[in-house]
């Protein structure tokens, strides 16, 4: 097949999303993973303060997510149109409904005490798992070549990134459970391994993969190293989302990949 194109005019339209969408990926991912940590900590009888803070983090992230997504719309006043229909084949529709349920459940888990609060926490954790991973599906199931190529890795990269940022935020809040360091290490190791697979290693990959992974080994003995790892992971998690959205914009500009 020839390499001919139409004056190199891009075939695809680039994503119209601005900073609000990747920042939502970051906030929503951290909130979702935090709800899972809250439930896991609760079920295993960990420190009540950690359970409380993780629930609050989930609720806070859910509260922030709404305005970010509304601000990104071309017609923000029509945000409720997202809930007119439910379309399981639209990852955006699944996400809108998940965020709605997650928001309500997380608020309940953070504010209500007793069994009702625990029930809300369980629902918050279940939808939190979707919150942490569906954004990878949202990008993967599109016509943008670089996203579609990584449809299998993006949900896992974003999931690991969400877990790493939730762990980091709880550590920076002053929680020192060894379990958090272990989870942070697992997320960083997964991201480092996936960065090798995607052959894209920049600041986002280093700050979310290799750097926190190494620091967290030292973190077994040093609280200070754990804090530094948390800071790096937090930055890496945000950069990862920003970089993947920007990569989509660049990818749409190349007519050759789209014409394959």
């Amino acid at each position: 097949m020839s390499d001919e194109t139409y004056y190199d005019v891009p075939l695809l339209k680039p994503p119209v999303w601005t900073w609000e969408v990747p920042v939502y990926f970051f906030v929503g991912g951290a909130a979702g993973a935090s709800a899972v940590i809250a439930l896991a900590a609760q079920l295993t009888g960990a420190d009540r303060k950690l359970v409380r803070d993780a629930r609050r983090l989930a609720a806070g992230g859910a509260v922030l997510s709404g305005p970010l997504l509304v601000a990104d719309l071309g017609r923000p006043e029509r945000f409720l149109h997202m809930l007119r229909v439910f379309k399981p084949r639209s990852a955006m529709s699944v996400g809108a409904w998940t965020l709605t349920v997650f928001g309500g459940a997380s608020a309940g888990a953070a504010l209500v005490k007793g069994r009702l609060g625990d029930l809300a926490a369980a629902l918050s954790a279940a939808t939190g798992l979707v919150m942490a991973t569906y954004t990878g599906v949202l990008l993967g199931a599109t016509a943008i070549p670089v996203w579609a190529e990584h449809k299998k890795t993006l949900p896992i990269i974003f999931g690991a990134s969400g877990l790493a940022s939730a762990v980091a935020l709880l550590e920076l809040r002053g929680h020192d459970e060894p379990a958090l360091n272990a989870l942070g290490f697992a997320a960083a190791a997964a991201e480092a391994a996936l960065a090798r697979q995607t052959k894209r290693i920049g600041a986002a990959e280093l700050f979310s993969g290799l750097i926190p992974a190494v620091l967290r080994i030292g973190g077994l003995k040093s609280k200070r190293l754990r804090r530094v790892a948390a800071g790096a992971a937090l930055l890496g998690s945000l950069l990862t989302r920003l970089a993947w959205v920007e990569a989509g914009k660049a990818s749409a500009k190349n007519p050759r990949t789209a014409l394959r």
Binding site: M1, S2, E4, T5, Y6, Y7, P10, L11, L12, K13, P15, V16, V36, I37, A40, A41, L43, T44, A46, D47, D72, L73, G74, R75, P76, R78, F79, H81, M82, R84, V85, K87, R89, S90, A91, M92, V130, T133, G136, V137, G140, A141, T142, A143, W147, A148, K151, I156, G159, L163, E177, P178, A179, L180, A182, L183, A186, G248, A258, L259
Partner: protein, 273 residues
């Protein structure tokens, strides 16, 4: 149909309509672009000088629903009506493909984008909230968000005109019959006859672009072009984005399971201070 006892009591099904755009008949007059703009009240889309032949529009977009492409080729005897020493010129009027399996329609979270009774894909402007997900879900780069308005726009297949029994404005304005509008099945037969005739006349590089064997499942607007479709920015292997859903959700499930199990294990084995 005839042995359906209730046939007489049902309203007749709307005919699925299509566009057959034949580049060998196009003279590049852009009357289709103008007629579309006028009928649909589409705003201007920038006054640019591209340097790409006579095409300063470049692509379809939120404010360009018909777009005439100007493909320049090395001269070959028998190709176009040009003298041998001049370049050969081919024109093709592009439009929304109105896919059988439409990425934009599937992606739309508000239900704004619908399939009409004519089989076309239509954006309901009173529903669209400008989320932008259709933009990244079109494998042909057709639909886009108009930033001055906030909503997404593309060819409506003149839904209003079709409702009134009229043909779309572009087809009505086309002076050469390059843009044919009508019953999709009949148009496909017309195209088959046309291509057979062109081949018999020696125009062996004439080809029909209609990606029926892909996940898009064919388009309601299809094209006859000369040479490789990619020279007209027509991809030969377009992928309907929802074809990626199974793989992506499987990965999401694996990722979610890992987060859940990992969190439980971490706290069960070493959660207490």
């Amino acid at each position: 149909m005839s042995d359906d006892p209730l046939a007489a009591r049902r309203s007749p099904p709307a005919v699925v309509t299509g566009f057959f755009t034949d580049s060998t008949l196009c003279i590049g007059c852009k009357a289709c672009e103008v007629a579309c703009k006028e009928w649909n009240d589409v705003p201007e889309d920038g006054f640019r000088w591209s340097g790409n032949s006579y095409d300063n529009t470049l692509s379809l977009g939120h404010s360009t629903w018909r777009h005439v492409k100007f493909v320049e080729r090395e001269p070959e005897i028998g190709r176009g009506g040009n003298a041998v020493e001049k370049m050969a010129w081919e024109f093709s009027s592009d439009v929304c493909k109105h896919c059988e399996n439409a990425g934009c329609l599937e992606a739309c979270p508000t239900g704004s984008i619908i399939r009409t009774e004519f089989g076309s894909v239509y954006v309901q402007p009173d529903i669209c909230n400008g989320c932008g997900y259709c933009v990244v879900s079109c494998p042909f780069g057709v639909i886009d968000r108009r930033e001055s308005d906030g909503r997404a726009f593309k060819c409506t297949f003149c839904y209003d005109r079709q409702k009134a029994g009229l043909e779309p404005a572009c087809a009505k304005a086309c002076p050469t019959g390059s843009i044919l509008f009508g019953d999709l099945e009949k148009l496909e037969r017309v195209a088959d006859e046309r291509i057979a005739r062109l081949h018999a006349m020696g125009m062996e590089d004439a080809t029909i672009w209609n990606p029926k064997e892909t996940s898009v499942g064919g388009t309601h607007a299809f094209f006859l072009v000369r040479g490789e479709p990619r020279a007209y920015n027509l991809p030969e292997n377009p992928v309907m984005p929802t074809a990626h859903l199974k793989d992506a959700w499987t990965s999401a499930a694996i990722g979610a399971a890992a987060i859940a199990v990992g969190s439980l294990l971490a706290f069960a084995l070493g959660g207490r201070k």
